[in-house]
Point group: C2
């Protein structure tokens, strides 16, 4: 592991770290914020934040406004990258923003040429926690997960696929049913192939329909989000949760868009919600 | 005035606006956050935030973490640019970061070729408040000013030069005695010429020595700031304030650097401090 930067902030420390990943076969960069409690050596609960299309660890690290509350709550906050990067990592053939680099969709790809490097699911659920816990005082018994847009899809599907692994799951403006929307159909087709049966294991609404469960879900969504109707479809999650009896708190916010102005506004609520469930 | 963006955030609205400036003779861009109280039409107090070298309005707008507290306190927050920009605006002959574009030092230049466009002092104290008040519900009787580094220099000197104009003044890691440090000597020499007597009117410590007064000053400074000893010198401000009887709260923070991680950590304290004095 290579420390890129360590910066004092809000009484804790914001680290940016690069490491060689076993899963992706590339260098990967992530950020981790240690609250004061962690710096005193106490094992702290961790919130994994999965970012959206085109993002790296840097977007939420700079604009997420999470440090004050994490410091207060004793919460470690980790933001991984959204895909493998570097020489030899295949990208969208047309260089589009919604597939390939910056758009790993948190699955382990099965289709060549993506299957070699695009292993974001195992990277996020197994490799990264293990690595982080080997260096930082993380309590692996108290993990929670959240994310934005494509990262909200990641948070929901990883929590649904790994019962008990995360104590709580929330999302900001998530893609909830990738099998039924253009971003998701392109990504799942490209990474998993055209057999749509395999997609159901990576589609939050389909996972719920097929019996996967989490204790409850918190979702915030901007009503002025330009991706709402075509790509995000929280109505499908609401329907799925209702049918399955999963308590969903879905809050629609008049006038809010898809940006970090929206995320930073509701970040505090998510941190407090997770912290309660991680106690 | 041209609206570049309007985004809902923390219950208020973050605007980015471009306008043609009478003073600089260029287009100028600034950001303004309206708290919910202002959106309901109530005239609100305003805090002017002056940015440091190389910055535009965007740095603090993205990384400053000021919106939550401004929304709560009913404070309008305006971040101007740090210099004129555009075709025909002269820059540092060597393209250095500490003079010219992004480095206006909040003075009205008297030296050709800078005197034509570099009129940041009058822009910030006169033109911008007038313009902003013509469109947004700003209470011009309740203005406060703060800034970072070069912008801290701007906040301190403008407040000292215009008694009563600002009800309160604070700064993050300010340049306090530009006449005695390399950044300031280069800038004041370039904009005002080599007669050092003229510099004293744009040097916070010299202004205080020469009798200028403000009711009190709040300064936060990182002890691990790499510019501390050579460029910032808060010790000189402490000495000047002590001799003049100006109450100075100077807080040194172990381990903090010069970045927005430092600024965002103490932003909340500054907002609350100003809000109390603007009541």
């Amino acid at each position: 592991m290579d420390t890129i930067s360590v910066t004092r902030a809000h009484g804790g420390t914001q680290h940016v770290v690069k490491h060689r990943s076993r899963e992706t076969g590339t260098d990967m960069t992530f950020s981790i914020f240690l609250p004061p409690a962690a710096e005193e050596g106490a094992p702290c609960p961790v919130l994994w934040y999965l970012s959206g299309l085109t993002c790296t660890h840097a977007n939420v690290t700079e604009k997420g406004e999470y440090r004050r509350a994490c410091a207060e709550l004793g919460l470690i906050f980790v933001a991984p990258d959204t895909s493998p990067r570097g020489e030899g990592v295949p990208d969208d053939p047309a260089g589009a923003y919604d597939f390939g680099l910056g758009a790993g969709f948190y699955v382990d790809a099965t289709q060549a040429p993506f299957d070699r490097h695009y292993r974001m699911a195992t990277y996020v659920t197994d490799e990264l926690p293990e690595l982080v816990a080997s260096v930082f005082p993380i309590d692996l018994q108290r993990q929670a997960i959240t994310g934005h847009s494509m990262g909200g899809h990641g948070a929901l599907t990883l929590a649904l696929r790994h019962p008990g692994h995360y104590r709580s799951v929330s999302a900001f403006a998530p893609i909830v049913a990738p099998g039924r929307v253009p971003w998701g159909q392109k990504a799942l087709g490209g990474y998993l192939g055209q057999d749509r049966a395999t997609w159901r294991g990576h589609d939050a609404v389909a996972l719920i329909e097929d019996g996967a469960r989490v204790p409850e879900i918190l979702v915030d969504q901007g009503a002025a989000d330009s991706f709402l109707a075509e790509q995000l479809r929280p109505d499908l999650l609401a329907e799925g949760c209702r049918a399955a009896g999963i308590p969903l708190t879905l809050r629609m916010h008049e006038g809010y868009d898809h940006s970090y102005y929206f995320i930073s506004t509701f970040m505090d609520d998510h941190l407090r919600w997770h912290a309660e469930r991680l106690r």
